[in-house]
Symmetry: C2
Subunit: 197 residues, 2 copies
DNA sequence: CACTACCAACTTACTGCCAGGTAGATCCAC
DNA sequence: GTGGATCTACCTGGCAGTAAGTTGGTAGTG
């Protein structure tokens, strides 16, 4: 009846799971949910990902890879750092516009319930993410297109990531996509023009 | 053996549950967890809160009441609006310093899994919270102590709430309390001195 | 003051469900 | 026929929730 011996099942499982986690969280989905959506059995998922934590780890790794790839793309697509920052925020806007949360933001809220391998990957995601934003701010400062208060560019980068993650989170309960855009615009107004330090 | 006919059990249940939810989330705790901690049975919790959602609703209501009360206190304690804003951020700092998340921020991440009554209460929390910050910004502008970009004070308030919620979220996975403080300082630097609009 | 009826608080004991996970058989392509 | 991928069938444990009984303070009555 259905084309059975698929070789891309693991990826399909990751796709479906990613969507679920971004919506209801890592603790909010079950193997049965994914199996039902894909028309397979839970045992099949266990074949590809023995334990739920294995699936979780793979999920974060893939998400991080894709995210970093998107960042590289932004870097090469626009010479202007202000445009790069705007494109960076657009990454988040796409996510919330599709009624999702950042996979790693969602899992950060569940941090205390996760095992060490997953925690380590989450930490790495935010570390790399913040690092990229920090470099962006440095280049922006040289260009005269971006500015940030204080001497520590890492702090400013942390603030930007935090703001975007938080804006997505809050948007779910209050404000929706419009709320996210509002917060984003305020942030861009703060960093997009010379302010203090 | 133990003093049985206690009249404050419902509050004790709310206290214990609040701590749990702020750590592992609404979907991450069970009646058995709370019962074990308090030395009572799960049936006893069901007596006070028939369904888990009843407990959830009461939890948000109480948290909102206390939060708003703290905001009123801030308003009367300091005449300076900049000091008020700093005190406002200290509310969040206390939470993350105790290894917790904002109860409503945590639940916002679980929004899709919650029933309507809980969702409505969460929306109300953020609405009232943002409203208070917006009024603070307006008073701060009159005083010349605070400034925000653009004409819509609500957007700026949304940005502040989002930033603080996000900073707590990210801090769990990366940066810890120091990370939170870093993001907060960047935010205060942006709003604490005249910038653009 | 003693007796009784009552009631809120809490317990024991249970149900049904769904979760993650496993063992072994089956299917299908090479 | 070998081996990767999938299925059927099952297990165990934990979950929210329920029914019925127990306890202990309190109010009412003579």
């Amino acid at each position: 009846m259905q084309a059975r011996p698929k070789t891309g099942t693991a990826e399909l499982i990751l796709d479906a799971t990613e969507r679920r986690v971004q919506s209801v969280g890592y603790n909010g989905f079950s193997y049965a949910d994914i199996a039902g959506e894909l028309g397979i059995t839970t045992a099949s998922i266990h074949y590809h990902f023995p334990a739920k934590a294995d699936l979780g780890v793979r999920l974060i790794e893939r998400y991080t890879q894709r995210f970093l790839a998107a960042l590289s793309e932004i870097e090469t697509a626009h010479p202007c750092t202000l445009e790069q920052l705007k494109s960076y925020t657009a990454l988040y806007e796409d996510v919330i516009a599709n009624d999702r949360l950042c996979l790693c933001g969602m899992m950060a809220s569940e941090f205390e319930t996760l095992d060490e391998p997953m925690r380590a990957r989450l930490t790495e995601f935010f570390e790399r993410n913040e690092e990229w934003v920090a470099h962006l701010l440095e280049r922006g400062k040289e260009q005269g297109m971006l500015a940030y208060p204080g001497a520590d560019v890492r702090k400013a980068a942390n603030a930007i990531v935090s703001m975007l993650e938080g804006a997505m989170l809050v948007a779910r309960a209050h404000g929706g996509v419009a709320g996210f855009r509002a917060a984003r615009d305020v942030m861009l107004a703060g960093f997009g023009r010379p302010v203090g330090g």
